[in-house]
Amino acid sequence: MSLMRTLNYRVLAAAPMLLFLSVARADWQMNLPPGVTEISRRIYDLHMLVLWVCVVIGVIVFGAMAYALVAFRRKEGVKPATWDHSTTAEIVWTVIPVLILVAIAVPSARALVFIEDTRGADFSIKITGYQWKWNYEYLDEGVSFFSSLAEPSNEARQKNSGIDPGSVENYLLEVDQPLVLPAGVKIRYLLTSNDVNHAWWVQAFGVKRDAIPGYINEGWFQVDEPGTYRGQCAELCGKDHGFMPIVVEVLPKEDFEAWLAEQRAATAVAAVSHPTTAPAD
């Protein structure tokens, strides 16, 4: 696998052969993953619903088109029809799509109401976008830190660095200090930006929201399964827009409490030596 990647990276010219080889890499993900939160699963279900609706309509419409293209080719002695309207048909294909749309709109509206309901959150964090890193602040806990692209990725992503991205673990999706959150807790996030617009997106959570200077956006999610989840900035924010990933480490509640206590202690020490938390660069 890694040999394939090395080959892939080095030999630019032999594209057709590489394509053949790259079949072995098994990264041909095609669909939206269901994710790990209630929000993301609802979104996934809706996505699949609309996708199947489109597939069914597509089969009918493309089938009709294909049939017309084949069956109504010009033939010797067959005169084309001359009719050019049918009110009944027009009504039918106006009303049926409206009904289908209503059928989609109802569950969509329900999901939207669910997603936007931030009440009852147990825990709040504040996320601030910077060019080009994230700041995470645990409200009421006095813990706050920056999270930027991990150094191995940063080195490999320099122009003509000579480092094969395939050899870097979690290339472009690794940070120096991840956001750590407790599992099984409804987490409310407040989102803003210090400079330009960013967007905080973790696909597995079904969460994408813009970070806009002067605005505080809010939302929520709840992750039940501990693990490491990755995302990226999703709003063009300048030259390093592609290089400000998001990594969220979800810990069991007790582990999280221990981590938070540790951070609090570290912050207290740091506050003595650096009284402000102004961003570097």
């Binding site: 969509s108 997603i115 813009d210 806009i212 999703a234 709003e235 030259k239």
Partner: protein, 526 residues
């Protein structure tokens, strides 16, 4: 006041200016149409070259060719050029050529204004491209120019804004001219409802331009004053609101989307009946559907902004109104299929492009419906899924319609038939590569690849490579089109004025007149 015959100078012998000056000074609608089309074709390659830089960089992970900042300049200027410099001028070219012929008018209503609206374009285009040479480079904040990022632009910023103003003035002038021509220059008997669909599509497009363009002009002007004159329209620190710019931009931007696609609908509606040898199905419902799409385009803009944190009610409204667009669009698709139904179909190159449009635009329509669903859009927004969607409606959608229209009317314009075999080869190459180029981008977006990034995590490598190969194939296939056009202009089998077996519309009856207009009066008895 009367003059005698001695006063007459025979000034008619000068004729038009020759050489280059003919093209600079021309007020003839066909000349100006040609200018628009040639300009659009040149810009297709300029913007396409930028797309190839983007796809070359994305061929594999890691940064090989361009710096991230230059990459952003490429995506930004590619979009601006393709939207304002390529596809809109292309359709303006079709309008100039065909609308007077289709409604039986001798020329456009305001020929000199017509000259001016074209000649603003090259200057605006050159100014936009010249920003690459300025310190700080070309605009790199995306064609959406969202502040505060766009305000970080270098010296090029005011030039970009000025260039957008010029492009906007040009399209406003063109649309005013088109509206006045359609309203005032129709031949007797050519009532509004009898007008061909292409004319209708342009009339509604012109309405959209008139509604949307001042919004863009005002919006970018406010960016300019925020940057240089100390206003705070969009500056949060000064009490402004950066989200308002997004509202402004998309209030312009969504009608703009239909400004691009409605003329494409119009062209397809001309081509399909001709090669089906059957009149367009539901002419009136097509007109109403087009008007409905035009109207809806004004009330759906915020579906581009589902993630900015709108109130729930706003999201619900924009989700519903956006879904509604599927209804009139569906009507159009069904009408086109019905036009072919029980027709007598042949597949010359224009028909191939029209059928290709039908299939692939529908794919773009499906992904559009998916994105209308606000909660799901949270996952699609700003990913390659969006990139795939709008390229499906713009490239195998609008651009295929323009290419089909070019093949359809080339014999009319040049008097020669184009090379049918090469045309078909061009169609099949374009279709295969365009799908290879854009279909995998759906997968990339769903798998989680954000748009506008110069480098990506390695799990996205495979589809990106396919996509890049498709891009180069598609780009080079278009050279074949240039060859076919040049060959057709130079010579070829002579085309009759009817050109096709059974075309519909006034333009095919020229030079023999269709609507009868009588001048001779009964002599007055004195």
């Amino acid at each position: 006041m009367s003059a005698t015959a001695q006063d007459i100078h025979d000034h008619h012998d000068h004729g038009p200016a020759s050489g280059l000056m003919r093209w600079v000074t021309t007020t003839n609608h066909k000349d100006i149409g040609t200018l628009y089309l040639v300009f659009a074709l040149v810009m297709l390659f300029v913007g396409g070259g930028m797309a190839l830089v983007i796809r070359a960089e994305l061929f594999q992970p890691g940064i090989q060719f361009v710096n991230p900042d230059f990459f952003n300049q490429m995506t930004t200027v590619h979009a601006l050029i393709m939207v304002f410099g390529m596809i809109m001028p292309a359709f303006a070219g079709f309008a100039n050529w065909m609308i007077p012929m289709m409604i039986g008018a001798p020329d456009m209503a305001l020929p000199r204004l017509n000259n001016w609206s074209f000649w603003l374009l090259p200057f605006a285009g050159v100014m936009l491209l010249a920003t690459f040479l300025m310190p700080g480079g070309a605009p790199a904040a995306g064609w959406t120019l969202y502040p505060p990022l766009s305000l970080q632009g270098g010296n090029s910023f005011p030039f970009t804004i000025f260039s957008i103003h010029l492009l906007g003035i040009s399209s406003i002038m063109a649309s005013i001219n088109i509206i006045v021509t359609i309203l005032n220059m129709r031949a007797p008997g050519m009532t509004l409802l009898k007008m061909p669909l292409f004319v209708w599509a342009w009339l509604i497009t012109a309405y959209l331009l008139i509604g949307a363009m001042p919004v863009l002009a005002g919006g970018v002007t406010m960016l300019l004053t925020d940057q240089f004159f100390g206003t705070s329209f969009f500056n949060a620190a000064g009490g402004g609101d950066p989200v308002l710019f997004q509202h402004i931009f998309w209030f312009f931007g969504h009608p703009e989307v239909y400004i691009i696609i409605l003329p494409a609908f119009g062209i397809v509606s001309q081509i399909i009946p001709t090669f089906s040898r059957k009149p367009l199905f539901g002419h009136e419902s097509m007109v109403f559907a087009t008007a409905a799409i035009g109207f809806l385009s004004y009330i759906v803009w915020a579906h581009h902004m589902f993630t900015v944190g709108m109130p729930l009610a706003g999201q619900l409204f924009f989700m519903m109104s956006t879904m509604l667009i599927a209804v009139p669009t569906g009507v159009k698709i069904f009408n086109w299929i019905s036009t072919m139904w029980r027709g007598s179909l042949t597949f010359e190159t224009p028909m191939l492009f029209a059928v290709g449009f039908l299939f692939m635009f529908t794919i773009g329509g499906f992904s559009g419906l998916m994105m209308a669903v606000a909660p799901v859009d949270f996952q699609y927004h700003d990913t390659y899924f969006i990139v795939a969607h709008f390229h499906y409606v713009l490239v195998p959608g609008a651009l295929f319609a323009a290419l089909g229209g070019a093949y359809y009317w080339l014999p009319k314009w040049t008097g020669h038939m184009y090379d049918e075999t090469l045309g078909k080869v061009h169609f099949w190459l374009s279709t295969i590569f365009v799908n290879l180029l854009f279909f995998p981008q759906h997968f990339l977006g769903l798998a989680g690849m954000p748009r506008r990034i110069p480098d990506y995590a390695v799990q996205f490598a495979d589809w990106n490579m396919w996509s890049s190969i498709g891009a180069f194939g598609f780009g080079f296939s278009q050279l074949l089109f240039v060859y076919v056009v040049i060959k057709c202009v130079r010579g070829g089998e002579k085309a009759s004025s009817k050109v096709w077996d059974r075309p519909f519309g006034l333009e095919w009856t020229v030079p023999s007149p269709a609507p009868y207009h009588t001048f001779e009066k009964a002599p007055e008895i004195k």
